[in-house]
Homo-oligomer: 383 residues x 2
């Protein structure tokens, strides 16, 4: 596949933006990315979004944002893969530029979640699960993840507090990310005392919703004049059954394994060469499962990596270096683009107190549903 | 761009399928296409759909169908561009195969609309319009098209009955299409006496909703061994403002003009070489505007082409040869794929009484919103 470079990035702070519309939030990130790239126009726009039809009564977000941003007449489209929509839009844009049919693209992940009551958003998020076989039984999306976490604890003998370090790490890193939703250090005690959501998942196991957008401009690498470039070394996507009960082993993220395996092959690296990993910690259990599926820990031992603090900056595999979904926030359809923007920030060396030393190769993994759609991207700094 | 061939097609009859779920309808078309192509698996699945989150409580349709169809582990994604979702999914798949990153793809346009009450579907369809500037004022999607039609009649001096031939032609052609929703010949008298929906648009100006799915398998053309191939000669997409009031001229489909212009250039043809045109007659006014924007008629004279019956089989430019949206039916996110499947049927010479004589080059145009996202594809028979 033709080599693609990241020309510019942009993002908004994740928050309850009651004073800003869907249009304005997406526009802010898009304009920031275009400005960072030093371009005014691109050939095509790819928007990742999950909820806008249900929360804002707005579909056709590709054209909606092309209109607002001023990409008049240009082609535009929306891509949806539940919480994996952001990275799915990025991958579609990559393939479009790689095809040669477009020479530049803007990718925008955007989500406005706080304009509806919590129960409406919970119902909207449940559309990521299987409507016929899961949601019909009355289970929520958190509930599905709670069942997986409970089974994992039982099978591998972990206690709830053993998961604390995932959230502590994300919260600590988010302290230094001005775009993060939560700026609050937490401790094991606080983690254990947090309100229960769906046992054993409590409030500090779960990522917060929010309004936010993150964007990127991509072009063929050969068109970038600068010596130092951030390029896409690998892009891979894989799926698993929508319903968790259909999986042979509900505690193994088959699609994470498949997409990471393919990504390592494409990039010509092993997991040991990955300098940091922006993983999809929608719930602390998902952080453990991602680390295991991608080869950073043995089965059932992802938690150990956190307990030994190998996931912090300077650890064996730093994760969620800008706060992850847990503390940066999880505006669902935008999350995959936040992760990729953060990988670029690390590779550019712009992360201050959470900068990974000499970061050259970064990985991002975005998950749609309870492990149903998983996209893995590896970006690389080239000098 | 790498040349792509159509290896197989499949479709379901459009109807109120109360005995079939979203899963089953999409699966039926997908399996038919795989069987027609003579393959069991493809590398990737692209699903075009607009309403499933709102009507069926199901998002993440890419993975949902990969799961159901048995494309285990393969990548899958959903593309949405309102009523243009079908052709948008096709274009995304084309670019993916053209990029070389996937070697075969299944494209599935699917929509299940009749599981909700009419007013809920009307509200869901309104998400194609501008939520802030159009829908907020209380206008429906039909209402927006009605304003355009009224203005067109005023500006160019046409009477309502002058539009009859568009619907008469579509209904006549649908008589010979077993997959069509409506099998009923109509006359000018019937057209004029039909119930009003949003003046001047009456029931026979408007396409019916329905449940349906259409699918295709695509591969690089060089991989097809047969002598006769159907190949993609051109694929183009363009956008206009979402809100009709923002357009300099609301009676000119700028995005149709742009995407058709680009498609003619890519295919190396003029509109005179197009043997038939599967256009997006969601409302009769849209048929007229499409013909004008694509160069088949002068401004304001699309209606004349119909009045002179130049749009029938054997006419100057046969349109809606399988019944169009008006009579084949308009399951919104599936429509673009129905059009493309029908183009292939014509090029293969499988259309019986509505077969266009010696059809070699066919065009399909799919519209999202009131002309906001427009995709034009040209397919060609190669010997």
């Amino acid at each position: 596949m033709r080599k693609i470079a990241i020309l510019g990035i942009g993002q908004t702070k994740i928050d309850e933006h009651w004073d800003k519309s869907l249009r304005e939030i997406g526009g802010d990130a898009a304009f920031a990315a275009l400005q960072d790239a030093g371009v005014e126009k691109v050939d095509a726009l790819f928007v990742g979004n999950m909820l806008s039809s249900m929360v804002s009564g707005q579909n056709q977000l590709g054209t909606f944002f092309a209109d607002w941003i001023g990409l008049w007449k240009r082609e535009a489209v929306k891509i949806e893969a539940a919480c994996g929509s952001g990275a799915a839009a990025f991958r579609s844009a990559l393939m479009a530029v790689a095809s040669g049919d477009v020479e530049s693209a803007l990718v925008l992940g955007v989500e406005k979640m706080t304009d509806k009551a919590g129960r409406d958003v919970t119902a909207a998020l449940a559309t990521a699960a299987d409507a016929d076989y899961e949601v019909e039984q009355g289970i929520s999306f958190v509930g599905i993840n709670a069942l997986v976490m409970r089974r994992y604890m039982y099978e591998f003998g972990w206690k709830h507090e053993d998961f604390a370090q995932f959230s502590i790490n994300s919260h600590a890193n988010a302290m230094h990310n001005p775009y993060a939703r939560l700026h609050e250090k937490i401790t094991v005690e606080k983690f254990e005392k947090s309100s229960m959501v769906a046992t054993p998942i409590n409030l500090l196991d779960a990522s917060p919703v929010g309004d936010g957008a993150a964007a990127m401009v991509i072009v063929p690498a050969e068109k970038v004049q600068r010596k130092q470039k951030i390029v896409v070394a690998a892009s891979a996507s894989a799926t698993d059954s929508i319903a968790v009960h259909s999986r042979k082993d509900p505690m193994f993220l088959q699609a994470a394994y498949q997409s990471a395996k393919r990504a390592y092959e494409m990039a010509g690296v092993t997991q040991n060469q990955i300098d940091f990993f922006e993983l999809h910690d929608a719930f602390s259990i998902m952080a453990a499962l991602s680390l295991e599926a991608c080869g950073f820990a043995e089965r059932g031992q992802g938690v150990k990596l956190a307990l030994e603090n190998q996931i912090g900056i300077g650890g064996k595999i730093p994760v969620c270096t800008r706060g992850g979904l847990k503390a940066r926030g999880h505006p669902v359809g935008a999350t995959g683009m936040y992760q990729l923007v953060e990988v670029v920030q690390q590779l550019r060396g712009e992360c201050g107190k959470t900068q990974v030393h000499d970061a050259k190769i970064g990985m991002a993994q975005n998950i749609g549903g309870s492990g149903a759609t998983i996209l893995t991207h590896i970006l690389k700094k080239e000098n």
